[in-house]
Every structure is written in structure tokens, then in C-alpha cells.
């Protein structure tokens, strides 16, 4: 596993969690302009994450690392490697699906925020979408070491 796309993606996702946390804070304080900007940054950072992930998938594809008939891996560890990549694609694929939902939620919030639907008295949708986004971030916080880091010296 190439370490750098994974590390960069972890940093990107942490940045997006940061902007989402600040978006919730702006909603709490009734700062509409900041809320719109921060939701937009969260969407952009989420898209950057998926872009890098797509690039990784593309290189796995060209290197014949997709489990199945065309899987090719040199050495005696070909079978375990195929199992590893099955886990890799199942875990990161499910995570990416949650990321798509996670980008959809702030997009809907963005439209509502632009219409001025949120105030310090009502920002529950922002708060709940924030919780969802942080949950997806936490999942990646565990996927990153399990898929990219711990297998390096076993």
C-alpha cells in the first residue's frame, strides 16, 4: 500500500471535520455568511478525498490488484494479498458510499442556509449532519492505520 495518498486523505478528512465543526459553531452563533462558507469548504474537501480515493482505485486497477480473474500478485503471498484487497475494496468502498451521503447532506444544508433557514434557535439539521460527518471521519481514522499502516511490518 502506498502510504502517501492515505496520509494526505486522512489530513483532508480531518480538515473537513474541522470546517464542519466550525460550521456547526457558526450556526449556533447565527453567523450565516460563515456557515455558508464553511459548508462549502466541507463539500469541497469531501470531494477532494473522493478524488484521491478514485485515483488510488485507478492505479490498483492498472496494477491488476482488483480481486477476481485478472488479479495478479507476484510471490507466494498472492492468495492472502487477494483476501487483503477484497477487504480493502469492501471497507473503503462502503466508506466512500458514506462519503457521498456526507457530501449530499451539507449540499442540502447549503441551500437551506442560503435561504436563511437556520438561526441560533434552530440549527438541529446542521448539528445532526455534523455528527454524521464526524462519524464518517472516525471510521476513516480507524481504516487508515488498519489498511495502510499495520501491515507494513507484520
Amino acid at each position: 500500500m502506498n502510504l502517501w495518498p492515505g496520509t494526505i486523505n486522512t489530513a483532508v478528512l480531518i480538515c473537513s471535520s474541522f470546517t464542519m465543526a466550525l460550521a456547526v459553531r457558526s450556526a449556533q452563533m447565527g453567523n450565516r455568511k460563515a456557515l455558508v462558507g464553511l459548508l462549502l469548504s466541507t463539500i469541497v474537501l469531501g470531494a477532494v478525498f473522493l478524488g484521491i480515493k478514485f485515483g488510488e482505485y485507478y492505479f490498483k486497477f492498472t496494477e491488476h490488484l482488483i480481486p477476481g480473474p485478472s488479479f495478479a500478485f507476484a510471490g507466494p503471498l498472492a492468495r492472502p494479498a487477494e483476501i487483503f484487497f477484497s477487504f480493502y475494496f469492501a471497507l473503503t468502498g462502503l466508506h466512500a458510499a458514506h462519503m457521498l451521503v456526507g457530501i449530499g447532506l451539507p449540499s442540502a444544508l447549503l441551500i437551506k442556509a442560503l435561504r436563511g433557514r437556520f438561526s441560533p434557535g434552530y440549527f438541529t439539521p446542521v448539528e445532526l449532519s455534523g455528527l454524521y460527518w464526524h462519524f464518517v471521519d472516525i471510521v476513516w481514522i480507524f481504516l487508515f492505520p488498519l489498511l495502510y499502516l499495520v501491515g507494513r511490518h507484520l
Binding site: L3, T7, F144, H153
Partner: protein, 93 residues
Amino acid sequence: MKSTHVLPLRCYTAVFTLLLGLTLTTTAVSRIDLGSLNVVVALTIAIGKALLVLLYFMHVRYSSRLTWVFAGAGFFWLAILITLITSDVLTRN
């Protein structure tokens, strides 16, 4: 769900900087061969990062005790999963 507690900006920036620092640390440590200790270090850092997100970004620290119980139950379940998987991986030849 009206939360009256607004955290100061510097609390968020401090957590954010810590999270980025821990990410770089865990990547750097993974490049050194520590044997099975690599798993321990990587997962300890991951739990630390998840706790930071949970307590500050998700405001669990400032939530009710009931929220603590539910968040704790989720972590307990995760601990079971990771313990069972690593006990398999680490006892293989």
C-alpha cells in the same frame, strides 16, 4: 436539540492541530520496524484521534451522561471487534 454551549474557536483549532500532528506521527512511526508493537502504536494513536473528534468536534464532553453511555457502548463494541481480529492476525505463523 438546542445546545447553549458554544466552544471557543481556539479549542477547535487546538484539536485540529493535534489531529494533524497525530496523523503525521502515526505515518512516521509506521516507517520504523517495531514488530507487533507497530499495531499497538497505530491503534493507540487512532483511538486517541477518535476520542478527540468524539469529545470536542461531536461535543460529547459537554453532553448528558446518557450520551456518554451510548458513545461508550459504541467504543466497547469496536474494542471487541478489533481485539478478536488482532488476536487472530498476531497468533498466526
